[in-house]
């Protein structure tokens, strides 16, 4: 990617983010009622999008080649297990990441 392409990509990210932040204030200036469908999407969309993002993160992992996705599976299991147990975001992320780094650097 050239620098210009990078700047365009970052501009798109800024534009997309600002669209989602400013749109409600532009669309519903004086407490106009939010459409029911939009309210529904607001409730259900976040959960699905986070599912999508988890898959997005592992999109380049191949179960047929290399380390067969084993380090990823183990590190995700540790992160998830720790999080369900302790519910401490920073502990889960730090432990999962360090464990994954150790797996890649010393074992796989």
């Amino acid at each position: 990617m050239t620098t210009t392409q990078q700047i365009i990509t970052i501009a798109m990210v800024i534009l997309g983010t600002m669209l989602t932040r400013f749109l409600p204030f532009l669309l519903f200036p004086a407490g106009k009622k939010t459409p029911k469908y939009i309210e529904y999407l607001g409730k259900v969309l976040p959960a699905a999008v986070f599912g999508l993002l988890v898959i997005y993160c592992v999109r380049n992992v191949s179960v047929l080649e290399g380390s067969h996705g084993i380090p990823e599976i183990l590190a995700i299991a540790l992160t998830a297990g720790l999080h369900l147990w302790k519910k401490n975001m920073f502990l889960s992320i730090a432990a999962g990441t360090l464990f994954y780094m150790a797996l890649l650097q010393f074992i796989f």
Partner: protein, 236 residues
């Protein structure tokens, strides 16, 4: 009260509320900065991204976008999908941010998850100016995030440890957010729809082309499931 003392009192009321975010943002921002650094970007990237985008999850994803093929349409659509939740933060803050004049554009600009959670739920002490309170919560949170990200970007290359595998920090972040959502929700239709549709699309369209079909598939599936989901919601 003079303008300065009004602002000062609001700053003193806002600062303690942001302390948990201080720790979290420095850590996560620092990881983000290092991640950008080891991905080959100068510290100017995390500095300007954290300053101008100020939306953590999408900033992480933007690193992969910048490393991949140039595709501005997909970048825009992905950003909107990932940040769609901000639409609903905005809707929830319509009344609270009303009539705040010149501060309002910045408050809307800086309405990230953490700032929303504080400003939406905080009991502002009597005598404290609402606008200034919201303003300082937003500003302090952004200062923490920008500092963490920039420091990470600067120090990433001089850290005396091997950073191979550090990119897992993004995976871990989304696994944790996904689980937080999972533990909060009454039923898991939407979470499972997101996982399943994305996985199927990944198998069909492969890594470079699955995001847009997956986003379309999720919107379609959730629209089709609206009636049963709303019924389940009402029963629960």
């Amino acid at each position: 009260m003079t303008k300065q003392s009004t602002a000062g009192a609001a700053l003193r009321a806002a600062f303690p509320k942001t302390l948990p975010i201080l720790a979290g943002f420095l850590f996560l921002g620092f990881s983000y900065g290092i991640y950008m650094n080891v991905s080959g970007f100068s510290f100017l990237y995390p500095l300007f991204m954290s300053l101008l985008v100020f939306a953590g999850s999408v900033e992480f994803v933007a690193v992969s976008m910048l490393l991949g093929a140039f595709d501005p349409v997909q970048a825009l659509l992905m950003t909107i999908m990932i940040n769609a939740r901000h639409l609903f933060y905005g809707i929830s803050m319509l009344d609270k941010y009303r009539g705040l004049g010149k501060k309002k554009p910045y408050l809307i600009f800086g309405l990230c998850d953490e700032t929303f959670s504080i400003n939406c739920t905080a009991d502002i002490p009597a005598g404290i100016d609402r606008g200034w309170f919201y303003f300082f919560v937003t500003l302090l949170n952004q200062i923490y995030w920008v500092s963490g990200a920039t420091l990470g970007g600067l120090l990433g290359s001089v850290l005396p440890v091997k950073t191979e595998g550090l990119d897992f920090v993004m995976t871990a972040l989304f696994v944790v957010i996904f689980l937080d959502q999972w533990m909060k929700e009454k039923n898991h239709f939407s979470s499972l729809t997101g996982l399943a549709v994305s996985l199927v699309c990944l198998l069909i369209f492969k890594a470079d082309g699955f995001m847009i079909p997956a986003m379309a598939g999720i919107l379609l599936a959730l629209t089709a499931l609206r009636k049963p989901l709303e019924k389940a919601e009402a029963k629960a």
